[in-house]
Symmetry: C2
Subunit: 289 residues, 2 copies
């Protein structure tokens, strides 16, 4: 009997496990609004570039609606987060901003594309030939965005004219550099912890030079830093200097906000800063709808 | 000639468009770490329940690693955001928290599940029989989580013992009610704008009653409110009352933080509050790794 009973007991156990699983669970893939990856050939950069595109769900009551576009650098780091923010903040029960298209630009050669000058100096001003070789391609990268990327997005998606340019660290430096050198390209600029130390504060010096006191600059600019070495760090001092320079210029129509996040690191800060930046940029949207 | 030329010109134009598109773009689906939807039959609630589950990417160097679990109510509102936060904050270049599993619990009957007592009173204390009929099922919902959901998640995923319970509005009320009535169920509790007004501040009164002065409660508790009617609103006053009650009790081992977000609405606040809550809960994680 014993020899016979064991196999049956084992079979019973097996059956129960299978039955329990069939009864208690049924797993499917979770679906969210999908995003796309487009590959475009850039003649200016002479390379294939991928871009990530996230579109709002189409409202069947208004299929011809057009949407503002948020372009974000370091796409692999921040595209999915911004897509999530915009989808949530534009929900009918939240309504803190309009529905928008997010375009994430992942890097190929980050240092080349996101630095404005050719320099081999590190953040302490000391030569570091290995890390920064090939730097200084930001102008060409901005030309790629202006002449190739934006037209391609406008051609393929239901875009409204309103555009935002967002970046963190070297990407923040590029956003500010774009504001100074191509101010008409975007309507709002977000520079999260811009690497103002680059090339002996080159972009800080350009800010002083390019912004003409009392002139009109009808743009929104959000900039911020985290706790990157404490209150006395070169990072924080540079952001304070940028803020002071902007205040001093008394630009007309320029709507800016500087936020300091003392409890966030260089890498955690973008999460809260991008949220605050969207909230700031669309603060008056509700009234104008 | 004219009659012949037109069709050719049209053909040339068509060809150019096709060629340009083929040359300039190539669209694929964007892939991120996928999430799953599980359907389980709850005997306690006598209904089918869907739950959303997001798991960290498996690290091939440590396939047996186990992960803390964040359970979040109102899954359709906040699951995707929390998944995004946890994936980002646990990246090797961010390291603000460990990798974690997120379980989102979407609603079937929200008012039934997320209110602790049967009441027909609205936030002003006036009867509102249409909205709150069937309220008071929170104890049964918490039993479902304890006896059915958590065992099912523990059985099917590589869970570590550490568990967080997160909710907003009625979900925040449920998180606090769970802390008071099932304190051992989770290690940390997040109550974003809990609806403390429910049933003449029932849960506030329970907080006063259930927390014994000077006793030990080795838990983390994050609670917050936004600008829900301004500084003199019943909402804000209730949160201040909760904060004062907790402070007065001088509990041992209880690690709590109250945050007020004056610039956020009831619906925008969860975005920043869930981020701050995760940062707070894992503030000492880096040292202990």
């Amino acid at each position: 009997m014993q020899l016979l009973a064991y196999p049956f007991r084992w079979l019973t156990t097996l059956f129960l496990v299978v039955a329990f699983q069939a009864h208690s669970q049924n797993t499917q893939a979770y679906t969210s609004t999908p995003s796309e990856v487009m590959t475009i050939h850039s003649r200016l950069l002479n390379e294939e570039r991928k871009v990530y595109v996230h579109c709002p769900k189409v409202d069947s009551a208004d299929v011809n609606k057009r949407f503002p576009v948020v372009y974000v650098m370091d796409g692999d780091n921040h595209f999915a987060l911004l897509a999530e923010y915009v989808d949530y903040l534009s929900r009918p029960d939240v309504l803190a901003m309009p529905k928008a298209i997010i375009v994430g630009i992942p890097n190929t050669k980050r240092t080349r594309d996101l630095t404005p000058t050719s320099s081999l100096l590190n953040y302490e001003g000391k030569p570091d030939s290995s890390s920064y070789k090939g730097s200084g391609g930001n102008e060409k990268f901005l030309q790629f965005i202006e002449a190739e990327l934006i037209p391609m997005i406008d051609k393929n998606y239901k875009t409204a004219p309103y555009k935002i340019f967002a970046g963190h660290s070297f990407g923040g430096l590029s956003a500010l550099n774009c504001l100074l050198t191509h101010p008409d390209l975007f309507d709002a600029y977000i520079a999260v912890s811009p690497s103002l130390w680059w090339d002996r504060e080159y972009v800080l010096r350009m800010t002083e030079e390019k912004l003409k006191s009392g002139s009109t600059l009808d743009k929104i600019f959000f900039y911020s830093d985290g706790n990157e070495g404490g209150r006395n760090s070169f990072f924080h001092k540079n952001l304070l200097k940028l803020d002071a320079t902007i205040a001093k210029k008394k630009l007309k129509g320029f709507d800016y906000l500087y936020k300091h996040y003392p409890t966030e690191t260089h890498m955690t800060e973008p999460i809260v800063a991008y949220f605050d930046a969207l909230r700031y940029i669309f603060k008056d949207w509700e009234k104008h709808r």
